[in-house]
Symmetry: C2
Subunit: 470 residues, 2 copies
């Protein structure tokens, strides 16, 4: 085992213990010397491990005393239980609620806790503008021509290169670009599903996916999902004869922020391939992990081309550019045909700009900063919730992504909370939006992609105070 690998393994192990709560705030960590002995590593390596954990704000050093689990991690709230949706595919759309929430988002001066995208304040806007200008200069005919059908070659090469870090191991021919992540999912569902087919998804689930699936005439089977570890494999096994497609967000999904273990990812891939059920994997949040390394994907374990891997830069770089992609495995021809017919070509200018941005290496730097900001936001959110939300409030413990799932006492209806909050120009996403069943009425999703400020804190407090009144 290489030194570097060992180092990462140990650091991750400790981080996981802290995040899971096995090591609690204020707990003393083993000394540098003990760590050396235990793992047979050098002093230098041991010190690097502590430095890494410190840089992640997981531990603090106290002069002459050693390392302690960070005080700012003190506040963890109880975790909601895993969801228990009915396993009969049913269909009770929260359309009206979703429409209301989306329509109100157009209001001015709104504090947008309801939408899972990073605020413009967290994005490298000046550098992106430069890349747009360069793209209009570099592209043939200034970007007014159609791109090749599969998409910008440079961009596909960069995505392929980045996929090496999580075992995607793509090459450029494996990829097809799309107009953002939803367009990627839409092509996958159109390629695979026919009306009456059943699709298995996480529960709670991103409302766009629910509406897309039902809009295409699919039946939706919601799977029990744990807020930290994702879907339950045992249940998937049971329902497998009843499903035709599976769609998962295995890494830091919205709204829960859960992340499946490698083991579970591998098992899901094996199981679905065995039954010839295609898996659509949405990995838009995979790059914004709070820990020390990027999690793998289901696609990392896909030997048969049965996983259609979808991602985008909408959650990390520029939502409005609509730059996304699919690695469609054995369904590539179908996806290419759909792309030709439904959108003809991606938009050259934004795709070229993003390709060049990725090429400069600026994307990695930006992600590094964004991850830190989001992790620190998460901690600030939880602290504020602990201070000012009703007693008994539970929250998910995302280790990446843009979402925090909040569960109130059964008596607190988040639809009502929504109505109160929107009057104060605060938008939240009520839990009922994330299911086709009668559940999550006492839950809500908060976006942690806003810049943290005294104002954000006050708005969040205000939501808490309103909830207390309910």
């Amino acid at each position: 085992m290489s030194k570097e690998f060992l180092y990462t393994e140990i650091a991750n192990g400790i981080a996981a213990q802290i995040r899971s709560g096995a090591l609690k705030s204020g707990d003393k960590l083993p000394s540098v010397r003990t760590l050396c002995k235990e793992h047979q590593i050098s002093m230098n390596t041991a010190k690097r491990i502590f430095l890494e954990l410190e840089s992640q704000s997981l531990i603090d050093s106290k002069p002459q005393s050693g390392y302690f689990v960070s005080a700012s991690l003190a506040i963890t709230l109880p975790l909601p239980e895993a969801s228990r949706p009915s396993l009969i595919a049913n269909h009770n759309e929260p359309d009206e609620l979703i429409s209301t929430v989306y329509e109100n988002m157009g209001k001015n001066d709104l504090t947008l806790f309801s939408i899972a995208i990073p605020s413009g304040d967290l994005l490298p806007l000046a550098k992106l503008k430069k890349e747009i200008v360069s793209a209009t200069r570099a592209l043939k005919a200034g970007g007014t021509e159609y791109e090749e059908l599969q998409g910008n070659l440079k961009l596909r090469r960069m995505i392929a290169l980045r996929s090496l870090s999580w075992g995607g191991n793509f090459n450029e021919t494996d990829l097809v670009t799309t107009n953002g992540g939803m367009n990627a999912l839409s092509f996958c569902l159109m390629a695979l599903g026919k009306p009456g087919d059943t699709i298995a998804i996480e529960s709670p689930c991103y409302p766009g996916i629910l509406q897309l699936a039902t809009g295409l005439g699919l039946k939706v089977l919601e799977l029990p999902t744990h807020p930290s570890t994702g879907i339950e494999i045992e249940t998937l096994k049971k329902v497998i004869p009843a499903i035709d497609i599976c769609l998962l967000i295995p890494n830091f999904n919205t709204p829960l922020g859960s992340c499946m273990s490698d083991e579970n990812k591998k098992e899901v891939v094996r199981l679905l391939a065995e039954h010839n059920i295609p898996l659509i994997e949405d990995d838009v949040y995979g790059d914004i992990y709070f820990g020390s390394h990027r999690p793998k994907c289901c696609k990392s374990f896909d030997k048969e081309g049965n996983v259609l891997y979808c991602s985008s830069i909408s959650k990390t770089l520029a939502p409005g550019y609509r730059v996304g992609w699919i690695a469609p495995g054995k369904y590539k021809d179908k996806i290419l045909k759909l792309k030709l017919l439904h959108s003809t070509s991606s938009i050259s200018i934004v795709n070229e700009a993003v390709a060049n941005f990725l090429k400069t290496g600026r994307y990695e730097k930006h992600l590094h900063q964004l991850r830190k900001t989001l992790q620190s936001n998460y901690q600030n959110y939880v602290q504020t919730i602990a201070e000012s939300f009703p007693a008994g409030t539970k929250t998910s413990r995302p280790q990446g992504g843009l979402s925090l799932w909040v569960e109130f006492d059964k008596n607190i209806q988040t639809r009502k909370l929504y109505d109160l909050a929107i009057k104060e120009n605060i938008s939240i996403a009520p839990g009922r939006m994330f299911t086709l069943q009668d559940q999550f009425e006492n839950c809500m999703r908060l976006c942690i992609g806003l810049p943290w400020s005294e104002e954000t804190r006050l708005k969040l407090q205000q939501v808490g105070n309103m909830a207390k009144k309910l």
Copy 2:
């Protein structure tokens, strides 16, 4: 009747006579004096009429002799007959042929007679670049944010304003932007059609529409279509009980270049509304007319919101920007929902750039020039075809648009011609691509959107010589 109106009426009347061939090349026109008497107009008005016709290259003045029908119009070839497809909806897709043609388009140094878009050489590239740069400056967060769902407000206002010229009379709330024209058609078909429904279209028809319809599980009923005047109303009446949706390109459609009369447009709208059959109108070529004024649309006569009007700037300004729109009438809610689910948002930067370009008035100037170029191209194509194509070759007589339809003698198979031409780096579009039936094997579509040059002429000659050998 106003003077201005009278002037336009008379000029158009003469232009129509020339284009239809009633007045032939070299024919002497009535004198200025005679025109004054006949129509009771002033000498000045009569002179303006001749000047207008001269500027359209329809007539030439000869000193001391008067005005004559232009010599360059001399060459008109016989018109193909109206198509006679079977009226039973059937399905014999030319998929393989279409794939071959599209795949080969990626080749370098190809003379692209096969794709109906204007060459970059005919587009205002420098001004568009400037608008892109301005857009990244003007937009909030540099265009990285989602747009409002209905699309860029400024763009919708400009489209609404321009629609006044043909009786569209939109306001901004009537419009929804899309990622280009195909995306507009795709949303309309997804909103209206369910598998097994029957859609009536022109024959020959744009292959993208055929594939989109069959891809969504629709049955396709091809209507007999005249190369100059479009679909036959009498046949539409007969088949109306068998159809669920109708999709037409009434103005300068591809591949024929036909244009329906106002009367026929009005009647189609009335007929379909009476039977509650929605009409999808694709008007992407409406702005590139060769005559003196823009034709009306079916939408001009739509009182009940039954027409879903689709258009874009892909055929006139910047194909690669993918900026299109729908005026969906009473289907607006459905279209908005589809847009939200399948693409989330249009791409802010290109939409803002196009909006501003339209606002400066540059678009009108550009269109004016483009129309002249295309009309002159058409005449050059026909002249070259007359000179170097096999005897008996017929062509359509488009009065706008980007397409010229060529019909050879029955023995000349354009699939074979395609194979020969592509070896010489020339791409044509064989007629069989434009139908789901066994017809048009001896036809092809030529794009007239290439800049005319000695090279273009030689390549076209080359196609003619290859056809002669077949």
